[in-house]
């Protein structure tokens, strides 16, 4: 990554490569079929993604990854969001980035699925709660573990590092709840379970996951907005294309502005993640991007349901799939309200005078 042109080429290549698994033109049949199943995603697609190098995108090259940046990862997850891909790449890549090189081989190949369990309270961004490790055993509780039903191993954040816990080890209890998008989130209860402690700091990987989720939401809102514009150009009522009604036109313009703001903030924050060395500046940018992405995704998906009219309220129509994805991901890795509060605590007041 040296010049801006290299970067832009690298981002283009990532987007192109995404089209193999997540083409923007595809219907959403595969996504529909996987809803409300276990584990809620397709392990063979997972392996394909691993073969494309996506899981190790952020892993240094000398550890077997691609050593790319947050901007590339966000470009990829934006494409995944546009197709509502359910495979837990954001979570998986966070774990891969935190694992020591000697643990990575079967993970990067897709044989073993390691997912992070970082959260212990609702509406929290705290990584260090909910688990205590000692003498190779762990006790604790983590919640909202994304797509937990598909994990082989959990990477549990604890003070000072992470604990690797086998899903089937004694003392490991996993209770999966179905989410609105047809996936699942796990409550992981650990009672003196065998665990391998790995010292480290998950902060950067975690911030990257927040960004990647923002980009996923961006892709999703952009796609459903595009679908809706197509609908307005074809659907007729009162003898006219409904897209010719000014009230719907102006509403569409407002949604377009939200999508564009989300795109600008996500791109800028991803660049800040790659370029800035100031932790507070990075976190402020990340929080602002996630807040905008979550809010805009909510406004845009709701607006698209309304613009579709009655058909938008059927499960058979696609906009609802995007609305339900928003319901899961807008609060994931911190809701808009949580990130607005974090931004307020981090950001200097404007320097205008």
């Amino acid at each position: 990554m040296t010049t801006a042109e290299d970067r832009s080429e690298s981002l283009r290549m990532i987007r192109d490569s995404a089209a193999g698994i997540a083409p923007r033109t595809s219907d959403l049949k595969r996504i529909r079929a996987l809803r409300f199943t276990e584990p809620g995603f397709d392990k063979s697609v997972w392996r394909e993604m691993c073969e494309m190098g996506w899981l190790g995108l952020l892993v240094p090259e000398d550890a077997g990854g691609s050593g790319l940046g947050v901007q590339e990862f966000c470009a990829l997850t934006e494409e995944l969001g546009a197709s509502l891909i359910p495979e837990p790449l954001i979570a998986g890549a966070m774990a891969a980035r935190l694992l020591p090189p000697d643990h990575l081989a079967d993970v990067l190949s897709g044989e073993r699925i390691v997912l992070p369990a970082w959260q212990s309270r609702p509406l929290s961004l705290e990584l260090n709660d909910g688990g205590h490790v000692g003498n190779g055993r762990i006790t604790g509780k983590k919640i909202f573990v994304p797509m937990a039903a598909g994990a082989d191993t959990f990477l549990v954040t604890v003070p000072g590092g992470f604990a690797l816990v086998d899903r089937h080890a004694a003392g490991v209890h996993l209770d999966c709840q179905t989410t609105q998008d047809g996936g699942n989130q796990g409550t992981l209860t650990l009672e003196d379970a065998a665990a391998e402690f790995i010292p480290g700091d998950a902060t950067e990987a975690f911030e990257t996951s927040i960004m990647a989720t923002s980009a996923y939401l961006l892709g999703a809102m952009d796609r459903v907005f595009g679908m809706t514009m197509d609908y307005l150009k074809t659907r007729e009522q009162f003898g006219r294309k409904i897209g010719s009604f000014q009230a719907l036109q102006h509403r569409s313009a407002d949604l377009k502005i939200q999508v564009s703001l989300a795109r600008a903030t996500v791109n800028a924050a991803a660049k800040t993640m790659d370029d800035s060395g100031d932790a507070a500046v990075r976190k402020a940018a990340v929080s602002r991007a996630k807040a905008r992405a979550s809010d805009a995704a909510s406004v845009v998906t709701r607006g698209c349901i309304q613009l579709h009219g009655g058909i938008g309220y059927t499960d058979a129509a696609d906009p609802g799939l995007f609305l339900r994805k928003m319901m899961v991901l807008a609060p994931a890795y911190g809701s808009a309200a949580l990130h607005r509060a974090r931004f307020r605590d981090l950001a200097p007041a404007g320097d205008e005078d």
Binding site: Q185, S298, R302, Q306, G310, D315, V328, A337
Partner: protein, 382 residues
């Protein structure tokens, strides 16, 4: 006995209704999270029928209560207050009044008693796939063939079509007539050959609605109510009451109560942000209630509310949605879950958020309502 009720003062009448409802309403279906199917709500239907309270608006000679509009609203208000489920009430609200006004003696004698006993369960065949809010452009056709009519077409958003054994259908009897003319009103048994019902799964994963297909459905000419070209105007005249109901603040008030439950569960009741949001919603609900009361007063005076009643629908449904949006914000990750929190249906942010979505679409989208306001109330140019 009905005569006695109408003679009571409003307050006394309200107390009579409240006492009876509190003593008799089946507790297991109080404040249901979704529209109930016939199997779930028929106990309440039969209870009302037995008490003689099923049809407050029908004249006593047809088995109704003959209540004044004001008293009817009090009754509904008490039912809503207690959280009574809506029954499958199309027979009571639509078919009965239409037949009493326009039906033949034979039609009245045959159909009205069967609504009162619950033998006939009715659904409404109005909306069509290409005539969402544009009802007058419907395409279903009823062609005269000797002593019969043959109906072809497709209806959508048929509420409770799977539960109903009869459907009333608007169908075009004269293709040459202008938009809203040449439409007839037909009464059709659901088991007539050629009728197919396909359930529509809605976003909250319920099957309240269905698509109903008519494929050479043959009915006798006696299935027609009134004149063959007056179906739409007859049907429209019955919509007055509904236009008030969809603006009732009760729906928003219910959602706000659930928001407070959720806040308590999430431990944010005392937080300034929550209090400001909830207080704002409370004032919006109360202000809407003041506005709603002005329309209730009109009904009480025997007046028919004008097109300005659309204000209620617009404001109520958007307020309802705002409240459920606050709910999702407070719920955090729980707002993405499929099931209510801890199996407690009072803590169901995702469910209420989804249920509030179509409210701005059904009964004439809010865009249509704003068109009505600007054209028929503000008299802005076409």
């Amino acid at each position: 006995m009905q005569q006695d009720l109408d003679a009571l003062s409003d307050d006394a009448f309200r107390q009579v209704v409240r006492d009876w409802v509190e003593a008799n309403y089946p507790p297991e279906i109080r404040n249901p999270l979704k529209r109930l199917h016939w199997d779930e709500c028929k106990s309440w239907y039969f209870l009302l029928a037995e008490k003689g309270w099923l049809c407050p608006g029908w004249p006593t000679e047809h088995g109704g209560m003959g209540l004044s509009p004001g008293k009817q609203l009090i009754m509904l208000d008490e039912f809503e207050r207690h959280g009574c489920a809506r029954t499958i009430d199309q027979g009571v609200l639509m078919v009965g009044p239409l037949l009493i006004a326009h039906g033949t003696e034979e039609q009245k004698a045959f159909f009205l008693p069967k609504v009162l006993t619950g033998e006939h369960v009715w659904c409404q065949g109005y909306s069509e796939p290409n005539a969402g809010s544009d009802l007058a452009s419907l395409r279903t056709v009823a062609e005269r063939d000797g002593d019969d009519y043959v109906i072809n077409g497709q209806k959508i958003w048929t509420s409770m079509a799977m539960d109903a054994n009869w459907i009333y259908v608007l169908a075009r009897t004269d293709r040459k007539a202008k938009k809203q003319e040449g439409i007839g009103f037909f009464l059709v048994p659901m088991d007539t050959p050629g009728i197919t019902v396909r359930p529509l799964l809605t976003l909250d994963l319920n099957e309240e609605f269905a698509e109903t297909f008519f494929d050479d459905v043959r009915v006798p000419a006696t299935a027609l109510v009134g004149l063959p070209n007056k179906g739409w105007s007859m049907a429209k005249a019955l919509l007055g009451f509904e236009r008030i109901f969809v603006g009732s603040p009760k729906q928003s008030a219910y959602a706000l109560a659930r928001l407070r439950d959720l806040a308590a569960r999430m431990g944010v009741t005392d937080e300034t942000d929550f209090q400001a949001a909830a207080n704002r919603h409370q004032q919006d609900v109360d202000d809407l209630t003041d506005l709603y009361e002005t329309y209730v007063e009109q009904v009480r005076q025997g007046e028919v509310p004008g097109p300005d009643v659309s204000m209620l629908k617009v404001y109520q449904t958007e307020l309802y949605q705002r409240i459920t949006e606050t709910m999702l914000e407070i719920a955090g990750e729980h707002g993405g879950m499929l099931e209510p929190m801890e199996g407690n249906r009072a803590l169901n942010p995702a469910g209420l958020f989804l249920q509030s979505r179509p409210s701005t679409i059904y009964s004439g989208t809010n865009e249509i309502q704003r068109n009505i306001l600007s054209k028929n109330v503000l008299e802005l140019p076409g």
